[in-house]
């Protein structure tokens, strides 16, 4: 889970990483016509000379896109906040802004701790130049980035950080100050089970102190269970608001941990996908595209979900307007019961009675019963349905539905 800057900075404060004085201002508190007295107070509290207003969104590069602005008076602050909150920005709705004191600084730097998945170790990166695109820096000037891998059991020791900092040209007291911040970043990684802690830029103030002007933190969702104290509200990561169908699908897994059937991403093609397994589902998406088709959605159900969940998912997947075909497919399941899941699919199809062609390919525990159920359904309702077991390669099923969908499209569109 990616954290908003203001959430990240709260965690920084907890471990003693210096941050500017600030106030978080949310949508709930706006809507007042005329000057909001609270904003005036915030302006005064933050020094009364000028403040920075930062849109709280999860997308990167918001500075370049105009998401960071300066206000020199309470009136200007009011105007900026009203212009930002509630608007769409980089595919997200701005629900809150972070208002910060303006910080004087003499230089900008980069520092991050994350995991290197190839070396399978945490890695510290310190850059002499900050406020920049670090991927670009790593690609074009790797010598400007001090990288040090370290053991996750011993943790990040100060000398390792001093070593990295010295390599990119820091000297004297800078080394100790940077090392102290790096060590606190690792402490935070362990304390919160973060996958990434990044400060870009980390600035040096005129009196030689360092301060985090930004905070990028990604928490490990697999470790959330051991952090009841980190109860951040759930958020989407699609780069756009969830569609109505996606919201309905999301509710399928709520409160029922038996298997997964609530993952649904709406796309703009015309072939509905009711696919199972993470690997199988992405393989089938590729196959549809390789044969010239366009998927209407992405989904993956698995982990042996009950019939009810798959019924609800089918209702979401197969009722999207403008469909020309439906692919119900997956690999040879190791664990998920084909009969149970197909019972849910059959019940939904019985209600929907799709006019478009359907291709099925599935195998695994309970396959005879599951496939028989579908054949009977097709006969009873007169559906245009092909039912295959393991004898048909999974990705061949994708080719067949692409062809059938194209033919159906021609028929209905003339």
């Amino acid at each position: 889970m990616r954290l908003y800057e203001y959430e990240g900075k709260k965690l920084f404060a907890q471990v003693g990483i210096p941050i500017p004085r600030s106030a978080y201002f949310t949508k709930a508190e706006t809507g007042a016509i005329g000057a909001d007295p609270q904003l005036e107070r915030i302006f005064d509290d933050l020094g009364g000379r000028g403040v920075v207003v930062k849109a709280q969104v999860l997308a990167g590069k918001r500075g370049k896109a105009g998401g960071i602005r300066f206000a020199h008076s309470p009136e200007e602050l009011q105007e900026l906040v009203e212009g930002m909150i509630g608007t769409q920005f980089l595919g997200e709705e701005i629900t809150g802004v972070l208002i910060e004191e303006k910080v004087e600084f003499v230089s900008e730097h980069y520092i991050s701790v994350t995991y290197d998945t190839v070396r399978r170790q945490p890695v510290l990166a310190i850059g002499r130049e900050g406020g920049i695109d670090v991927e670009e820096l790593a690609r074009e000037h790797p010598e400007k980035l001090g990288l040090r891998h370290f053991g996750p059991i011993v943790g990040l020791l100060p000398w390792v950080a001093r070593d990295a900092a010295a390599e990119v040209g820091f000297t004297g007291r800078e080394l100790h100050k940077l090392a102290a911040i790096a060590v606190k970043m690792w402490e935070l990684m362990v304390r919160t089970d973060a996958r990434l802690v990044e400060i870009n830029p980390l600035v040096k103030t005129p009196n030689g102190e360092y301060m985090a002007l930004d905070a990028a933190i990604i928490l490990d969702s697999d470790a959330q269970m051991r952090h009841p104290e980190l109860n951040f509200p759930p958020r989407q990561a699609t780069g756009r608001p969830l569609t109505e169908r996606e919201l309905i699908a999301q509710a399928i897994d709520e409160g029922d941990y038996r298997g997964v059937a609530g993952k649904y991403v709406e796309l703009d093609g015309d072939i509905a996908m009711l696919t199972s397994g993470g690997g199988g589902s992405i393989t089938l998406m590729d196959a549809i595209e390789a044969y010239g088709g366009r998927p209407a959605n992405y989904t993956e159900y698995g982990g042996n979900p009950p019939a009810e969940k798959v019924y609800r998912l089918t209702k979401v997947v197969a009722t999207k307007p403008g469909l020309h075909g439906l692919l119900i497919a997956g690999g040879i399941a190791n664990n998920t019961r084909v009969d149970v899941t197909f019972e849910g699919i059959a019940r939904a199809l019985e209600e929907i009675r799709p006019p478009y062609p359907i291709v099925i390919r599935r195998a695994g525990p309970g396959e005879e019963e599951g496939l028989r159920l579908m054949r009977e359904l097709a006969e009873r309702l007169g559906l245009d349905m092909e039912v295959h077991g393991a004898e048909l390669p999974m990705t061949e099923a994708a080719r067949i539905i692409v062809e059938k969908a194209a033919a159906y499209r021609q028929r209905v569109e003339g």
């Binding site: 999860l58 990167g60 595919g91 995991y115 998945t117 190839v118 399978r120 170790q121 945490p122 991927e135 053991g151 996750p152 059991i153 990684m189 362990v190 089970d193 996958r195 490990d220 697999d222 470790a223 269970m225 051991r226 990561a237 699609t238 780069g239 756009r240 991403v265 796309l267 199972s276 397994g277 993470g278 690997g279 199988g280 589902s281 992405i282 393989t283 998406m285 590729d286 196959a287 549809i288 595209e289 390789a290 044969y291 998927p295 992405y298 993956e300 698995g302 997956g330 690999g331 040879i332 399941a333 190791n334 664990n335 525990p365 393991a390 390669p393 999974m394 990705t395 061949e396 994708a398």
Partner: protein, 304 residues
């Protein structure tokens, strides 16, 4: 032959009294795997399908010194503890089936395992390992109808996806070939074994004549394999299918597939993985079932 497991493999199941673990223990025994003991702390003295349960690994080892493989089937937050226990006793093969192991725990497991050169870990999020020639399987791989898909042969399979391990092996069987060893290595960010750790084992296995890998978006495992092959040479033909090319034209930040199958900041894009592997001489299947035709090209017909 084959790799990692053989007819000499003697398995202990950690968390054997759990629902899934007990079901999989039954499947393993039915297939022919020698499951000799289980551990569930606090439940020592019980039996699961005739397999004795102990409170500690130490107790189990004193009764069954022949144990040389551990199947880890405990809840996600207990995995680190269980694997450290197995590492302490230098168990040569540890297969972690559990999904959703925290990244920090996986990193610490890998770090400690590096101090135990005689130990090999596969997983987390592994579907298991099967060696049909030795008639031994560890983990849920193959499910209840193992013999439909897995018969002995000369092809090694390494897959990031559990479900696609069996599907890939099925394509291989339909093309007329059998399996030396097949395994799911999981798609987690930090894996006990990556492609680059296992491909050399297949290179050294006389039974294996070709290797098929199933890759996914995310991480750098495919790129690391390509680098290894360019440096040390490709001693046996490798065929790869890399799933998830469609992700390249999807909105950034959407997670498709498993935990590791995420494209973050342009890292781990399938197109880049395919490019790197192709440059290293790996044969790429454009659509998954083309694996069959490519295998026939490189192997001809397998001797019966």
């Amino acid at each position: 032959m084959g790799i990692l497991i053989s007819e000499h493999t003697r398995v202990l199941v950690q968390g054997i009294t759990g629902r899934e673990a007990s079901k999989v223990t039954r499947e393993m025994l039915d297939y022919g795997t020698k499951v000799v003991a289980g551990v569930t702390p606090g439940k020592g003295g019980q039996e699961v399908h005739g397999v004795p349960v102990y409170n500690t690994l130490k107790e189990a080892l004193s009764e069954h010194p022949e144990i040389n493989a551990v199947l880890t089937y405990v809840p996600p937050l207990a995995v680190k503890d269980a694997v450290f226990e197995a590492l302490e006793y230098n168990i040569p093969f540890i297969n972690i089936i559990t999904e959703r192991v925290p990244l920090l725990d996986a990193a610490q497991i890998y770090s400690y395992a590096r101090t135990k050169p005689a130990t090999r870990i596969v997983g987390p999020t592994s579907v298991g390992v099967i060696n049909p020639g030795a008639r031994v399987k560890v983990g849920p791989i193959g499910g209840v109808n193992v013999d439909r898909v897995y018969r002995p042969g000369c092809v090694g399979v390494i897959s990031k996806s559990g479900g696609m391990t069996t599907e890939t092996s099925w394509i291989i069987r339909q093309a007329g070939f059998g399996i030396s060893t097949a395994m799911g290595i999981g798609g987690d960010f930090i894996k006990g074994s990556a492609f680059v750790d296992l491909v050399p084992l297949f290179f050294n296995d006389p039974q294996t004549k070709a290797i098929v890998i199933f890759g996914e978006p995310g991480g750098g495992d495919e790129e690391a394999l390509a680098e290894y092959l360019e440096k040390y040479g490709m001693r046996k033909p490798i065929i790869a299918f890399i799933a998830g090319r469609f992700v390249d034209h999807m909105p950034q930040g959407v997670q498709f597939g498993h935990a590791g199958a995420i494209v973050e900041r342009g890292m781990g894009s399938p197109a880049k993985k395919i490019g790197a592997l192709r440059r290293a001489g790996v044969l790429i299947a454009e659509v998954q079932h083309e694996i069959g035709a490519l295998l026939k090209d490189v192997l001809g017909a397998e001797p019966a």
